[in-house]
């Protein structure tokens, strides 16, 4: 049986000059669909329309309307003229259809049972550029494209699918549906009629389908403003006005009443926000359009109610079902936020109307080339990773914020300049004796401290030298032995190095811009600046190293995105490429951690927190693609290897017994540690203890909320580490973990790394993740994030004023230099105070009370590190503890054998000088001050809020002698050498431990030694009548030196393992050749 195709009536509505009318009519006339009729409706001004149409489509009908009532009413008029048609093909007069377009659309309508079919629209001038492939809408009636602006048609969209809106231009509508819907709404004359028709069709249960194989070129002369909007009732309205009011009408009548009220309320909030933005930017047109739309709606509220009733009578879909067909969120707000984040305010506020964003501007050559930011942060040049911009043209505009290499380089240069302005005085000022800024000994002496068999810490100890001395001495090599430069370099460069480390940490996880912001956030964190201000070089070392350590740990634990390349195939140790193997990578991490631990032992705890944090996070949110297993083994192996690399320190810890945990830090006074709110702000000092200190943590929290996908996994891990760190810091700060009290500042450095990384990830989330999220708190969070980051960086400028980041110009200790007793025999000063204040390393007596000694003056390079094993020095701790517990009033007598001439009780590292320097007060236990005051043999010689100094009335020098028949001890020998004349029959006592390490030689022969019931050796000088001369001599087997040498050797071997054995093979090869040659000669002979 012969079947006929359904009849289709194409309706072209032309207005005014209709510049593309002929082409449109001709393209329809050329359709290969046989049952297609053409009806041209001339809207108003119809001069020569019939002739123009006839010239290209002689069989077309032309209907002339007296006035321009708009596109929709014209279509309605046309529909009334037609009977028996199955479909209407409503067309603008500026379109050009492919010959098979109508047929393909009809076929699609039948195949999918669609009520409305829309073709694929391409650019009129360049058919390769897509314009629309159907559209979607949010609940507020804001239409969103399904394609990128300017997307090239590679056939990637050629899949038939449901859409929410069939954009105007060419629309195939089933005639019965059109009749049911009562056609277009005559109130909507122009712009928005397509949304309205489709919305109502959806409500009525009709499908709307895009048929991408049907291609139509659309000139969009109305939308682009090429033609004026001259329809009746819209002549004085701008396109923006029309778009706004029609969207509002659709929303007001498109939902059930309750939903409509709620949606309108939300829309009003958004519109108020937009009006505010518009008014701030002076965009009065937009503000007027928004206000006018609400006025217009109020004016036509009856019509809106009538429409709603009509729609309810047709309604098939409920509101929730209808909403599921739409896009979630608020398209307009999201677009604003994304554009604001990427391109700044001026650009963002111009996102509406759409045509404004379509201004194409020339892309300068430099901008095209400058999309990467690599020099400072990347190992290799890479391009900006914001590849999937919604509006491709926009991202090439010169108004983008910090997406070009030039902008980023300028920002880095500015920040670097500001940093060096802020640290200008650190270059040349006399460094005060605060924190760990004790003047370093010479390069050679520092090496000697590492190898020494005996050190003067406390009352003297023979424990192995701390590896930190080795690190310092090694670093001293690079400054040609100018050891004084090292602390300055640390003060100036550690924070920037750490910031670069954060940038590297975020590499591959966020765009260069996000990395840059993360790095700057790290530099602006209060901890780094406070550490500089307090001279905490040890903490600064952690600030510099932890970002790198965290990145390495993430790589090895296979955190998503952190290992870009698989490990290379195993190669033998020492050969090239070993570094890139898994073993090599692990060894690299071990060496970095060992290096950092040598300077700041609490770094090891921080590394443990990172590993535990990642593991814990994976328990809840696994990384499916990760192949890493065995976190405990990894942690154990790391700790074990670090212990091997730091063998002297390991031995110290093993022999320290109950004090072994003190290697990680001494407990601070719970009354002087930062409060929990300060800890949350990463503040341990004066900088950042204000409201703006909350901004960066807030931004990090918002980032945690915004991140999605792999970025979210990383953010979760960072947040877990941050939370664990804060919990540990809080517990430690309150002394709830007993003697385990790692330095909280080092842990706060890890917290800073996580916060800054989260901030960077948050920026990445704004760039990539936000547009995938529906409207809601995420958008609000995004706005807040940006605001907080901007505001948080401002106070950084405030810290630049002093030129030394508020590092004091003078210290408490320096003001005590006049305390040195003039007597011979040497003397020690006992320093008591909070561990964060005392400028030398010591041991803990009680929470908040560290005890340390310096010999013959102020602390120096030999007191930077102390073994956790206090050994004989425990006599000092016990004496101090006894006094603090009210168990003695003779502290002076108890300390006199150690040669302690003065006790310095510190409450701060530097004196507070109003307007000059502001230092945090970290009081020693008040009971200690009371106890010292109560001692009958101490006298207070200096009392300020910062320090109290007591002199020991029973002081007799480190080396003293009593005359025959007298118990009174008098200082012996000079302060520079332990030798001098002796009185025959006298008794010499030396406050040097261990007693067995020293011998008193009298005229070259050792004197008898006794240590009965005391730790101080007593030497009996012979009673011979001759002149006697004695000397105290250290006799100690150089075991420490051997251990240090072994450690250095191990470092060297592993360093050679990173390919250097292979590189230096010629050395070995050469020897072998010579040896072989000699061997051959011998055989020949």
């Amino acid at each position: 049986m012969d079947s006929r195709a359904p009849a289709v009536v194409a309706v072209i509505v032309t207005t005014g000059s209709g510049p593309g009318l002929e082409a449109a009519a001709a393209s329809i006339a050329a359709q290969n669909y046989e049952e297609l009729s053409l009806l041209v409706v001339a809207n108003g001004d119809a001069v020569r329309v019939a002739e123009r149409v006839a010239s290209v489509a002689p069989r077309a009908f032309v209907r002339v309307l007296e006035e321009n009532r708009g596109f929709g009413p014209a279509c309605n008029e046309a529909a009334l003229m037609v009977e028996g048609s199955a479909f209407f093909l409503f067309c603008h007069d500026d379109v050009r259809l492919e010959p098979d377009a109508a047929q393909l659309m009809v076929e699609a309508a039948f195949r999918t049972n669609a009520g409305i079919v829309t073709p694929k629209f391409v650019s009129y001038e360049d058919p390769l550029v897509l314009l629309h492939v159907g559209q979607t809408s949010d609940r507020f009636g804001v239409v969103r494209e399904r394609i990128e602006l300017g997307e090239i048609d590679h056939g990637q969209q050629d899949l038939e699918r449901d859409v929410f809106v069939a954009p105007g231009g060419v629309t195939l509508v089933r005639a019965d549906l059109f009749s049911t819907l009562r056609g277009f709404d005559p109130l909507i004359t122009l712009l928005g009629e397509d949304l309205d028709l489709c919305w109502r069709a959806q409500v009525a249960g009709a499908r709307i389908v895009v048929a991408p194989l049907a291609k139509v070129a659309h000139r969009e002369t109305i939308a682009t403003g090429e033609r004026p909007t001259g329809a009746l009732g819209a002549r004085r309205a701008s396109r923006q006005d029309l778009q706004r009011r029609h969207q509002l009408l659709v929303v007001a009548s498109g939902w059930h009443r309750r939903t409509a009220w709620w949606t309108l309320a939300l829309l009003m909030v958004l519109d108020v926000f937009e009006v505010t933005i518009a008014l701030i930017g002076g965009d009065m047109d937009r503000a007027g359009a928004i206000a006018g739309s609400w006025r217009w709606l109020m004016k036509h509220r009856r019509r809106a109610r009538q429409r709603r009733r009509q729609m309810n009578s047709l309604r098939v879909l409920s509101d929730s079902e209808l909403h599921r067909l739409q896009i979630g969120g608020a398209v307009r707000l999201r677009q604003f936020v994304v554009t604001f984040a990427r391109e700044g305010y001026d650009r963002a506020r111009g996102i509406l109307p759409v045509e404004v964003t379509r201004d194409h501007e020339a892309i300068t050559e430099s901008e095209e080339a400058g999309v990467g930011f690599a020099a400072a942060f990347s190992e290799d040049e890479e391009f900006d990773e914001i590849a999937e911009s919604e509006q491709f043209e926009i991202r090439t505009r010169p108004s983008r914020i910090m997406t070009s290499f030039r902008a980023q380089a300028i920002l880095i240069a500015v920040v670097a300049l500001l940093w060096f302005i802020g640290s200008r005085n650190l270059v040349s000022m006399q460094l005060p004796l605060v924190g760990r800024l004790a003047p370093l000994d010479s390069w050679w002496s520092t090496w000697r401290h590492f190898f020494a068999s005996w050190s003067s810490n406390g009352v003297g100890t023979g424990t192995p030298g701390m590896p930190g001395y080795g690190v310092l001495a090694f670093a001293g090599t690079f400054v040609l032995g100018r050891m004084g430069a090292l602390p300055r370099l640390a003060l100036i460069f550690t924070v920037p190095v750490g910031a670069i480390g954060v940038g590297r940490l975020l590499k591959d996880r966020a765009s260069n811009r996000a990395r840059l912001i993360g790095a700057l956030a790290y530099a602006a964190m209060p901890l780094g600046l406070n550490s500089i201000g307090q001279g905490r070089v040890d903490v600064l070392f952690a600030v510099a190293s932890l970002p790198y350590v965290v990145r390495r740990v993430f790589e090895l634990m296979d955190v998503p995105g952190f290992r870009r390349h698989p490990y290379s195939e195993p190669v033998p140790f020492g050969h090239r490429g070993w570094r890139t193997t898994e073993a090599g990578q692990r060894m690299t991490l071990i060496m970095i951690v060992a290096l950092s631990t040598a300077m700041t032992p609490a770094t090891l705890i921080a590394v443990g927190l990172v590993i535990v944090g990642v593991t814990l996070s994976r328990l809840f949110e696994p990384d499916p693609e990760s192949v890493f297993r065995g976190s405990p083994r990894f942690l154990g192996s790391l700790v074990f290897n670090v212990a091997i690399f730091l063998l002297p320190m390991t031995l110290d810890v093993i022999f320290a017994g109950r004090r072994s945990l003190e290697i990680f830090g001494l407990p601070r006074g719970p009354w002087s540690v930062p409060s929990f709110s300060l800890l949350l702000r990463d503040v341990d000092g004066t900088f950042g203890a204000t409201w703006w200190g909350w901004l960066l943590p807030a931004a990090a929290l918002l980032a945690l909320i915004l991140c999605r996908g792999d970025r979210r996994r990383v953010a979760t891990k960072l947040a877990t580490i941050a939370a664990l760190t804060l919990i540990l810091v809080t517990l430690v700060s309150r002394h709830w973990l007993g003697s385990f009290s790692p330095d909280i500042d080092v842990l706060l450095a890890l917290y800073a790394v996580t916060l800054a990384s989260l901030v960077g990830l948050g920026i990445g989330a704004l760039e990539h993740d936000l547009r995938d999220a529906g409207f809601g708190w995420r958008q609000v969070a995004a706005v807040l994030s940006i605001a907080t980051i901007v505001v948080a960086s401002l106070p950084f400028l405030q810290s630049l004023g002093s030129g030394r980041f508020d590092l004091p110009t003078t210290s408490v200790a320096e003001s005590l230099s006049a305390l040195a007793p003039s007597s011979a025999g040497g003397y020690r000063v006992l320093w008591l105070g909070d561990p964060s204040v005392v400028p030398l390393a010591g041991w803990t007596v009680a929470p908040g009370l560290e005890a340390a000694t310096s010999t013959d003056g102020l602390p120096g390079g030999s007191t930077l590190f102390s073994s956790p094993d206090s050994g004989t020095s425990d006599v000092i701790m016990q004496a101090v503890s006894s006094a603090m517990n009210g168990h003695t009033v003779r502290l002076g007598a108890l300390l006199a054998p150690a040669g302690i001439s003065a006790i310095v009780l510190m409450n701060s590292g530097a004196p507070e000088l109003a307007g000059v320097q502001n230092v945090p007060l970290r009081s020693a236990p008040g009971v200690m001050a009371t106890a010292l005051n109560d001692q009958s043999d101490l006298s207070l010689v200096l009392q300020t809020p910062s320090v109290e100094v007591f002199s020991n009335s029973l002081f007799h020098g480190i080396v003293a002698a009593s005359q025959p028949g007298s118990a009174t001890l008098t200082p012996l020998f000079s302060t520079t050498s332990n030798s001098g004349p002796l009185v025959p029959g006298s008794t010499v006592v030396a406050g040097l431990a261990p007693a067995g390490a020293f011998a008193l030689t009298v005229n070259g022969k050792p004197a008898a030694r006794s240590t009965y019931r005391t730790w101080t050796p007593y030497y009996q000088v012979p009673t011979t009548p001759t002149t006697l001369r004695g000397a105290l001599v250290l006799h100690q087997f150089p075991l420490n030196g051997i251990i240090a040498l072994f450690t250095l050797g191990m470092w060297a071997i592993v360093w050679l393992g990173f390919g250097w054995i292979h590189r230096l093979e010629w050395l070995f090869t050469g020897r072998r050749r010579r040896a072989r040659a000699r061997g051959e000669r011998v055989r020949d002979e």
């Binding site: 002087s672 804060l726 108890l894």
Partner: protein, 461 residues
Amino acid sequence: MSSLRRIPLLVVLAVLLAATGVAATLRHPTNPSTLPNGLSVSINAESTALYCTGLSSASPGRISFFNTANAARKLSVSVVSDLGRTWTGTIELAAHAGQVVQPKVVDAPASHRSKSGRVTTVAVNYGVAVQISGGGVVADEIQGNSAVPCVSQGVTRWYAAGFNTLVGSDAYLSLYNPTGTEAVLNVSAVGATGFSAPQNLQGVSVPAHAQEEIDLGRNVVNTTNVAIGVKVLRGSLAIVGEEDSVGTLSFNQGVQAPQTHAWFPAVTTANGATAEIRLSNPNNKIAHVSLDVTLGNYKIAPQTTTLGPFTTGDITITPNSAIPVAGYASVSLHSDVPVVAGLATGTGTWIALSSPQTPSSSYVVRDFTGLGFDAASVTNTSSHSVTVHVTTYAAKGQVVVTRGINVAGGATVTLSSLISSPLTRPAGTYLVTSSRRSAIVTLTLPSHPRGLYVVAPLDGR
């Protein structure tokens, strides 16, 4: 799915973090500034010290030591007079043994005597410092019928109320500097006319290990109920107030800070006796003071008064028509702002001062004055009941008997049933300990009328 897993993790972390933060915030760590002391602390000490001051040569003052430890102790005694003369010596004190030192006697060695044997110049006042090799030694300084404990450390703040500088009365502050540092102090007074800070009592210095006497009557003339505040600007001092009321000497031990609660466990209500609680308000706020008087089975309405800023006042306990004459009353003071209180007992002609008692957990009850006790009581200042044990020290280092008694919260009970010796005769030595640091033991010396002299037992401070 992963987001669902992430949320529990974040919730767990947030809860843990919040819990830690709340716990850390709720617990406000404070920097302790008070040295632990007391008999329980000093008993195991490596060395301790006792300081006594205000020992007059007129009515020869003396110090009575007692060794509560089970081992002998060596005491290095250093006596310094207001003339600057010093005497040092050592005393071996056997376990559970006592000894008396009279500074006036040791201050008159041969070098200070004329050929006739008379001391050329007799000092008026003495300060004594005793260093003890170990702990557990307590001491009382006794002047006439008044006795106060020697202290083991100096103070930086000192307050006392109730001094009279009326004609016929003298009041002094006796200061001893136990440290090797010169001490500097300011003295202020609060009387009926308000606050005063006499210029010559500002910046007073006391050299290291020296004793000084300040005559309050020269600076606050002809005034009754004078309260004194001492602020030691540098160093610390052992301070005691002395009242010479028509020839009757008494010590006022004072307190280290004004208090909102104070206890006077044994206040006489005897016929012919007078007893009043003298008060001083050293604050700039009005103080509303209330006294709860417990007297046998009598119900006595609280006695109240209001003190203006920097003023003094008093509440009479005896004679008081609201308080019957029925033995010893236990008086507890409550005030909305910290005040200084003192007890003035007497006959209407003269008064003897004593300071409020401080709760502790151990007391040495010993007849240091040689007069015996008229009354011995223990008061439980807490709301919980405590068990009080009495241990009797026997000769030769033996501890003989330990007996216990339960004292309800807020109650005062007599110790006469636990102390076997007759109270009115020289008695033995006892150690009274309680299960809480809330007990106050109070003794009164035999006098007529009863209870005119209130002394505190020694708690080792």
